[in-house]
């Protein structure tokens, strides 16, 4: 079972709420996904309106809200936004997204580290969106992060796990859950992430923009279950070398 901070999750699929063609469809897809952690952009919702069209559709006992700071450009703005979110949405969980580059939405490692330190001190459960940078992950652990969220490939690109070599290093040495965020384009990408030992994945575009988001959400749910099961059952290692018929070291046994 996956545990982040003091919360246990039955589902290893985390989801986003953007890009859907309607909020009804978003609700239906999120329910089909079985996701228990759903991220919401502060800029898209009216946090002071109890009847906000997005928020009202996420009111299920199994769904935990994960407000995100998308749109902020530095640590100071992120901390301010996180505090407002905590007050209005009554959760101390925050997905830290600091991308001062609005074109490729690349996370700023320096500001993210600064904000994580500060927010952890203020009692937040911080989930930072970052590059697949193993050293940054260790620095974030020291700063008190609850998990790390390295990207698989550029956000919204659907390109899969382009950062695989770095993700494997991060997973092998992490003391906090590793959630692969961004770039996961297909259920097979998600299964692969779980197979290599990622604790969870966050998927938005691939579900929201598909022709049938509800079906696609279910496909991701199943892929993630399969990937995790395979990880736990231990995959047979692929063999890329031949077994020589005349071994080079057989003389040692003579």
């Amino acid at each position: 079972m996956l545990k982040i901070a003091d919360k246990i999750f039955n589902s290893r699929l985390f989801t986003g709420t953007g890009k859907f063609s309607s909020s009804e469809l978003m609700e239906e897809a999120l329910l089909a996904s079985g996701s228990e952690l759903v991220t919401v952009a502060l800029k898209r919702v009216d946090i002071n309106d109890r009847d906000d069209d997005i928020l009202i559709r996420l009111k299920y006992p199994h769904i935990n809200l994960l407000p995100n700071t998308s749109g902020v450009r530095n640590a100071k703005e992120a901390i301010f936004a996180a505090q407002l979110a905590r007050e209005a949405l009554e959760t101390n969980w925050i997905k830290l997204e600091i991308h001062p580059d609005p074109k490729y939405l690349m996370p700023d490692p320096i500001e993210t580290l600064k904000a994580t330190e500060e927010l952890a001190k203020l009692g937040f459960i911080v989930l930072p969106y970052i590059h697949a940078d193993p050293v940054l992950c260790k620095r974030l652990e020291d700063a008190g992060t609850a998990a790390v969220m390295p990207l698989g490939s550029p956000i919204g690109s659907n390109k899969g796990l382009k950062t695989i070599d770095f993700l494997e290093i991060i997973i092998s040495q992490s003391n906090v859950p590793v959630i692969i965020d961004a770039g996961i384009g297909s259920p097979s990408d998600a299964a692969w992430a779980l197979e290599i030992g990622a604790d969870a994945v966050l998927v938005n575009t691939a579900i929201a923009v598909s022709n049938d988001p509800v079906r696609m959400a279910r496909a991701f749910k199943l892929a993630i279950e399969a990937g995790r099961m395979a990880f736990e059952a231990k995959l047979a290692k692929p063999v890329s070398y031949a077994v020589a018929s005349s071994p080079l070291t057989s003389f040692l046994d003579e």
Binding site: G18, K19, F20, S21, S22, S23, L42, K43, R44, V45, D46, I47, T69, G71, V72, R73, N74, K76, E77, F80, A81, L84, P100, D101, P102, K103, Y104, G156, S157, N158, T205, A208, V209
Partner: protein, 372 residues
């Protein structure tokens, strides 16, 4: 490189135009197949040689837009604050030589207009004025921003170009976006269309996005007024400008508009006509060339065109717009900048967006996100 003028000076209008018209179907096919497109690809995509590829371009533009922006369309509305203007612009209803009574809204009048816009559901507002520095100046804008900030999630401005210090003063008041259209990058033609007033300074206008970038504005909008000069060449220069800005002011977001010249009382006939087919080609070319830029469409376009353009690459749409100060409530008969072409209400447009499988988004920013 100090600013865009230095880049601009290395280009020649006529040679650029020739190189666009010399593009062949092989160039278009290469551009369509490329994983990333550069400015030469953009030239091919806006060239006459791309016309037979329009359906393919539209399909690609739709896919790329969905991937980046999803099935959503941002709603925004203009709020005209003033039609006072000291410039002569041959194509504009607010031109100084158009001898009609002028109006600048007072704070109380602005709030009457705001009430109407809020009833329509708007959260993103675009403030528009002419250029009358004696009445509509930085202090006036500060007052207006102070008034509006509690009522809107995002405030944009399309007013006269200002100095760097002015922009630096206005951003703490909640100014999020500034639109400044070059009108045309053809310098001689620009002079003909802007014979009098501060706007006659081509370079000051050309360098305005540089000043906005230096002031750290969140978003800026570029464009040309289509109808003044060869649109393919003018839009190439827009793309060149955007390329320069994205690299230099990488922390700002960008949007593009493609307004076609609309009639106003006593106004200019377009020198160059752009057909609906060509406008679709331009929108798709912008999208295929730049996957991240926002593309915005106004009520200058017809209902039929707007209904069908929703799925082809645009990301923002205005509706129910009035182009005169006081047009929503205070003084519906005041001088308008141009005649709009689509008079349907925001609710009707929202319904049309929904019917096409997209969600109209009213709020996609929050003042709490920009505090430093």
């Amino acid at each position: 490189m100090n600013n865009f003028t230095d880049v601009f000076k290395t280009y020649d209008w006529d040679k650029t135009k020739q190189s666009i018209y010399a593009k062949t179907s092989a160039d278009v096919e290469r551009a369509l197949a490329a994983p990333k497109r550069d400015l030469e690809d953009f030239k091919a995509l806006v060239s006459p040689a791309a016309a037979p590829y329009l359906e393919q371009m539209a399909q690609l533009s739709q896919q790329l837009t969905l991937k980046r922006f999803g099935k959503v369309i941002q709603m925004y509305v203009p709020l005209y604050l003033s039609n006072e203007c000291n410039n002569i612009c041959t194509y504009c209803g607010f031109s100084f030589d158009n001898k009609v009574k002028r109006k600048t809204l007072s704070p109380m009048e602005i709030m009457q207009e705001v009430a109407v816009l809020k009833d329509m559901g708007y959260e993103h507002v675009l403030l528009v004025t002419g250029e009358a520095n004696q009445t509509v100046h930085v202090d006036y804008f500060k007052k207006v921003l102070d008034l509006l900030r509690p009522h809107f999630a995002s405030i944009s401005m399309e007013v006269q170009p200002l100095d760097l210090e002015d922009y630096e003063q206005l951003t703490p008041y909640g100014l999020n976006t500034v639109l400044v259209y070059q009108e045309t990058y053809h310098q001689d033609d620009y002079r003909k269309h802007h014979p009098k007033g501060k706007k006659s300074n081509f370079e000051y206008r050309l360098e305005t996005p540089d000043r906005l970038g230096q002031a750290g504005i969140h978003k800026m909008g570029l464009g040309v007024l289509i109808g003044l000069e060869d649109w393919r060449t003018d839009c190439f220069f827009t793309a060149l400008h955007l390329t320069y800005l994205e690299k230099r002011y990488w922390q700002s977001k960008y949007s593009l508009s493609f307004p076609r010249l609309r009639p106003f009382s006593g106004g200019l006939e377009p020198k160059v006509e752009m057909s609906d087919r060509e406008l679709v080609q331009l929108i798709c070319a912008y999208r295929i060339w730049n996957e991240e830029v926002e593309l915005s469409i106004s009520t200058r376009e017809s209902p039929l065109f707007r209904n069908n353009i929703i799925k082809l690459g645009i990301t923002a749409i205005s509706a129910g717009s009035k182009t005169n100060p006081g047009g929503y409530a205070v003084e519906p008969q005041s001088l308008e900048q141009f005649e709009i072409s689509d008079e349907r209400s925001p609710a009707e447009i929202a319904k049309i967006i929904t019917a096409q499988g997209y969600e109209p988004v009213w709020k996609d920013w929050d003042v709490c996100l920009a505090t430093s």
